[in-house]
Symmetry: C2
Subunit: 338 residues, 2 copies
């Protein structure tokens, strides 16, 4: 029992924490183990509940982020968890651990960011807790949402034959992080784009609602820990393999420009970058075109085919320049990276 957290990692820990967690199962459809918990609700709806904690100098640093950006992003990452279930975000509880010397102006700006994102996605701030945290600022948000009983998406629904889709584009948030940690001269357009993608990700709520309405979506996950990590998550939860097409990954020209500047492979940004908060979806092949059209019509967001779901025995691989290569997990793991 002298295991430390680095040894078992975040996912090993979650497996332990799931044990004996449910004592009154009546209303629980899904507990620990997806982007949000799912509870029985009312009028044909399920209730969704999720929470995310952001710690100073781990998830953000005040040297590069404004209070408003921290607030906006905290709300956005939680809204994204609800989107990943196919749902509509509704209510938020916010806990703030503040250093006592932090100013009221700072908190006002933080809340301005929380409210700005909340307003965009219809999320009320219904409560919270404010406490002293002298060594590092901490912000925790718990979010509630709802989804129609027949529209709830789990990570476990992908089936061989499905097509793998992704919304928007990949790797920009990671490129944005490089511009913050190691500022170098780039075009203003690329810098603005990447910073925005890092601090103001767009949760794909309207997109997933349109996609589900079009029919054929079988599983969803939001890309917080990197595309490859989320591919492993869906593959493990669904009991399937996944073959990714490297050439198909949507990468913005600004992200490519920054990759060149930082001497990185843009594919690495896209595969392992994390924090894009795009949605990774699996979809029945005959519905892909309808889904793409529906999302384009509502939101102008591209939905790109990036691979296919295969039987588990075929494993998890990437096709690059005509060669099928094993795809190693390597996304963000909270206890192994630190």
């Amino acid at each position: 029992m002298n295991l430390d957290l680095k040894t078992i990692g975040e996912f090993g820990l979650i497996e332990r924490l799931k044990q004996e967690a449910i004592v009154v199962p009546d209303r629980v459809v899904m507990g620990i183990g997806d982007d949000a918990a799912v509870l029985k609700g009312e009028g044909g709806y399920l209730t969704l509940a999720s929470t995310d904690m952001l710690v100073e100098d781990i998830h953000f640093t005040l040297a590069t982020a404004t209070a408003r950006e921290i607030g906006y992003k905290t709300m956005a990452v939680n809204v994204s968890d609800i989107a990943a279930m196919g749902g509509i975000p509704e209510q938020a509880l916010i806990s703030l651990g503040l250093r006592p010397e932090q100013t009221v102006a700072f908190v006002d700006e933080l809340y301005a960011g929380l409210r700005e994102c909340g307003r965009l996605f219809g999320v009320n701030i219904i409560g919270g807790d404010t406490v002293s945290s002298p060594r590092a600022m901490v912000i925790n948000l718990a979010i509630l949402g709802r989804v129609e009983e027949d529209a709830c998406l789990y990570r476990s629904g992908a089936r061989p034959g499905d097509i793998l889709l992704v919304t928007g584009n990949l790797g920009a948030a990671a490129a944005g992080l490089d511009t913050l940690l190691d500022p170098r001269p780039a075009t203003a357009a690329a810098l603005t784009f990447a910073r925005r993608r890092h601090f103001r990700p767009t949760p794909r709520v309207a997109e997933i609602r349109a996609a589900v309405a079009a029919g054929g979506i079988t599983a969803a996950d939001d890309i917080s820990d990197g595309l490859v990590a989320e591919i492993y998550t869906i593959a493990r939860a669904s009991g399937v393999g996944i073959i990714l097409e490297a050439a198909a990954l949507p990468i913005d020209p600004a992200t490519r420009e920054l990759a060149a500047l930082y001497q990185k492979d843009p594919l690495d940004y896209a595969l392992y970058g994390g924090e894009d908060f795009e949605l990774l979806l699996s979809c029945r092949p005959e519905r892909v075109t309808a889904v793409q059209k529906a999302v384009a019509a509502c939101c102008t967001t591209p939905v790109t085919r990036i691979g296919s779901v295969v039987p588990a025995a075929e494993g998890i691989a990437i096709v690059r320049a005509g060669k099928k290569l094993p795809l190693h997990p390597g996304g963000y793991n909270h206890f192994q990276r630190q």
Copy 2:
């Protein structure tokens, strides 16, 4: 705008955070400002939601608390918020910010404490987040519960003529804190009692359910920041005055023994100690006896008359040795004490 948090304090901050917090009011009965938020629910029930953050070396220290005690208390203080609304706790989301060197055994014990208290009160652990927090451990719990539409209790319901009641006894948690911070030789019985009251408070769920069923309860608040602070909270929210009877305050003999040992006035423990997590109630005078009997029958917990609700013009006072004295606020304020 160069106000700092110490200047405006926790309550001044909460007033600011309430502004523009609700963007879709349809389902929100009560947002920020009570022990829990209240949402429209189903089948004659309202949904309750609350959250509490506990920070290492502010709310607990690993030098005196076991992981199991921290877990138990975190669940208990959140359950207490639901009890203070008259409700039944149901679901919990838990965020853990852990130092990377903390062991899996530590987390297992923390969760054992969370689950132990959760099991006692029927609370499922349905989700959470685990992140790295190198400088201080942080635990945040968000809790959901429900209450019948006609049974929900607010801080704002107290009316002149009501009797002020309190469950259990007061000051023991503060005495327990003294025994932890400055260990001195006391009887084993007193030490065990006070430590238990500090680390394993009993949320008064069964008590409030019995009290509400008996009829006449008009307002409730749980005593987290100290009796006087909660009296101010109820008085301000209800627009009333409150006269407390010092001689009536229920103080356990063990608490008195420890007060003598630490050369403190046991009344100070009871008035300002905090963290007792007893319930402060206002009750129509003709229902007091029925409430006391109902709670005694279900739970053997005493419910004691400790004062009366008066018009706001009469202020907030305490009667001690026949003299009516002003009662100064002085409970825990997260930004002023640190």
